[in-house]
């Protein structure tokens, strides 16, 4: 875990409300796991008051060395709006890598990745990580959903990695007009995956959880809550366990990736 001032390497628009931002970081990020995140704050700013969590989208390498991290973010409010106004060379405070990433096991051969909207952010990192683990890309299937075609990101990146991809949009402007969980269930019934990895809106995750339960396919989901510290100090990021008894779990240090069977979504 490193607290540092990060220099912005680039901050490029990647669609209507989406941006990719490159940040310098400690070389220790070479050990970061997909699903891990950072807390980002603007130096000396009282508004927004709290740092904001963002998943690691990509590790930036130059000559094989870790030179930075890339985030993919959507402008939804004051913090992300302010971030979108930052330029190359500006400095932000970052803390990370935080939380627990997706868990990979060598017996996962056939892998489904489900991403809704900005939920794709950690999934590109996951896909490239799976490649380094020797996963056969043609055994990986990506289900990418968005409200419209403007909300579909990274499809080319997944294709370039040799992964199969299913696209759905709510308005039919690209791919099939349905929820991303439709092709997921169809594909799953045809050929069972060993694991489903999912990130996206809560409604989507609930549906994915239902499918995973119905077909008893293991599933890991990355979830979001509001956060103050991102590192276990405030206990603000509580989520309910499946058996709504016992203590709460905490997204920043028990997650943000959870085995879906543990969670009450």
């Amino acid at each position: 875990m490193y607290q540092e001032k990060a220099k912005i390497l680039w901050n490029n628009q990647a669609g209507n409300e989406y941006y990719r931002i490159g940040l310098t970081c400690h070389k220790g990020y070479s050990g970061a796991k997909p699903g891990q995140f950072i807390m980002l704050h603007f130096p000396g700013r009282m508004a927004p008051f709290l740092p904001r969590p963002f998943s690691i989208h990509r590790i930036i390498k130059t000559g094989g060395r870790t030179a930075g991290i890339e985030l993919l973010y959507k402008v939804v409010g004051k913090g992300t709006k302010m971030l979108s106004g930052h330029c190359k060379g500006d400095v932000v405070n970052i803390l990370g890598p935080l939380g627990n990433g997706f868990i990979f096991s060598n017996h996962y051969k056939r892998i489904f990745i489900v991403a809704g909207g900005i939920g794709v952010a950690p999934m590109l990192f996951l896909a490239s990580y799976l490649k380094t683990k020797g996963t056969n890309s043609s055994e990986c299937m990506v289900f990418l959903g968005g409200r419209s075609k403007d909300d579909l990101l990274c499809s080319d990146d997944f294709l370039r990695m040799g992964m199969k991809i299913h696209i759905t949009t709510d308005d039919g402007s690209a791919g099939d007009q349905c929820f991303v969980t439709h092709p997921l269930e169809t594909a799953l019934e045809r050929d069972r995956p060993d694991i489903i990895y999912a990130c996206g809106p809560l409604e989507m995750l609930k549906c994915v959880a239902g499918i995973s339960e119905k077909h008893t396919v293991p599933c890991q989901v990355s979830i979001e809550t509001v956060m103050a510290c991102g590192m276990g100090a405030c206990l603000g990021c509580a989520v309910e366990r499946k058996e709504a008894s016992g203590n709460y779990m905490h997204v920043c240090f028990d997650g943000p990736v959870f085995d879906v069977r543990c969670l009450e979504l």
Partner: protein, 329 residues
């Protein structure tokens, strides 16, 4: 002694006249005493904002802290409130964590071994649902040597008495402190709630019951509403406001209390920088606690310690005590 290339002794030449930095300056004394415990500097961590310290191990040198106050502890583990538990507000945040904690047994087994290794006094912040709970917890902590003292959080609802906070009235505040005092000989800091009419009255009554020091303020009760859904932003409806938004209120209360009690006062509330901490010290606080700032800058405590030291040294103030309670009015 500092010598330049010519071998002249700069301090004897009175270099200050020439605008150089006096490298011969003594390090200022940062030590303070809070009710029987000497701290190497006046900066403590505020309860509930620093976990059990291990969370910060990789980010700061914990041995440099003046003191550590851990998350509020109860006899039994407590689940805390349902989410959402926090919401950002202008220059601050509301929290309704609901005092989630691991309980005494797990604290001793799982958290204390790490805390023991830190070269800084550790205070256990305690709370209970009844006066008996407070007393019971204090007596069980009595024999744990590694704990420097306890901080009694009296801002909790009195379950057996209509749910008003113990700290809301001087009688109930006094009852808690009296019971805890009977159960422990250890240094006892009592943490006041700001949600009262006259804070000096409460301060005097807890001092009268044997508090060794008084810390203030806890969070100020507040709320926030989502105007689209017309629902409260916190599941608990109300929560405690913290951060710079409450600093002027905290400062005023610290100043008032410092004038009426003889025990050391520890200032808490919205301290983000050394300048903020110095305001509290000048107002009469002997030490300060840093809370919400840890979320924004996990290095805040160390930055504040260094900032206070630099402030003193730049002004040739040899001892921190030379500024405590020196408000010019």
């Amino acid at each position: 002694m500092f010598r330049d290339g010519l071998g002249t002794d700069k301090s004897r030449l009175g270099i200050k006249l020439y605008g150089f930095i006096d490298m011969n300056k003594k390090k200022s004394h940062m030590r303070v005493n809070i009710g029987g415990i000497t701290l190497k500097n006046p900066v403590l961590t505020a309860s509930g904002t620093f976990g059990y310290a291990s969370e910060f191990e990789k980010l700061i040198d914990l041995n440099r802290l003046g003191g550590i106050i851990v998350k509020g502890l109860s006899l039994e583990a407590s689940r805390g409130n349902p989410p959402p538990r926090i919401v950002e507000t202008p220059c601050g945040m509301l929290n309704a964590i609901g005092l989630e904690n691991v309980g005494l047994e797990a604290f001793v087994k799982e958290k204390l071994p790490f805390l023991k290794m830190i070269d800084a006094p550790v205070f256990v912040n305690i709370y209970g649902k009844s006066i008996a709970d407070y007393a019971d917890l204090a007596s069980r902590l009595e024999d744990i040597e590694e704990i420097a003292g306890i901080e009694v959080n009296i801002s909790c609802p009195n379950v057996t008495c209509g749910g008003m906070a113990f700290g809301a009235y001087s009688e109930s505040a006094a009852q808690v402190v009296r019971a805890v005092r009977k159960s422990t000989t250890r240094p006892m800091m009592v943490k006041l709630s700001p949600n009262v009419t006259d804070i000096t009255e409460i301060a005097r009554s807890v001092e009268g019951e044997g508090a060794d020091s008084i810390s203030l303020i806890n969070t100020i009760t507040g709320m926030a509403i989502d105007i689209e859904t017309r629902r409260p932003k916190l599941a608990n409806i109300t929560g405690g406001l913290s951060g710079p938004a409450i600093r002027p209120v905290a400062l005023r209360m610290v100043w008032q209390v410092a004038q009426v009690v003889n025990v050391p006062v520890i200032g808490v509330g919205g301290i983000m920088t050394a300048e903020d901490a110095l305001e509290f010290l000048i107002a009469g606080a002997v030490a300060v606690q840093v809370g919400t700032a840890n979320f924004i800058n996990p290095h805040a405590t160390i930055d504040i310690i260094e900032g206070i030291e630099a402030f003193l040294e730049e002004r040739n103030i040899v001892d921190l005590s030379d500024i405590i309670g020196t408000l010019n009015v």
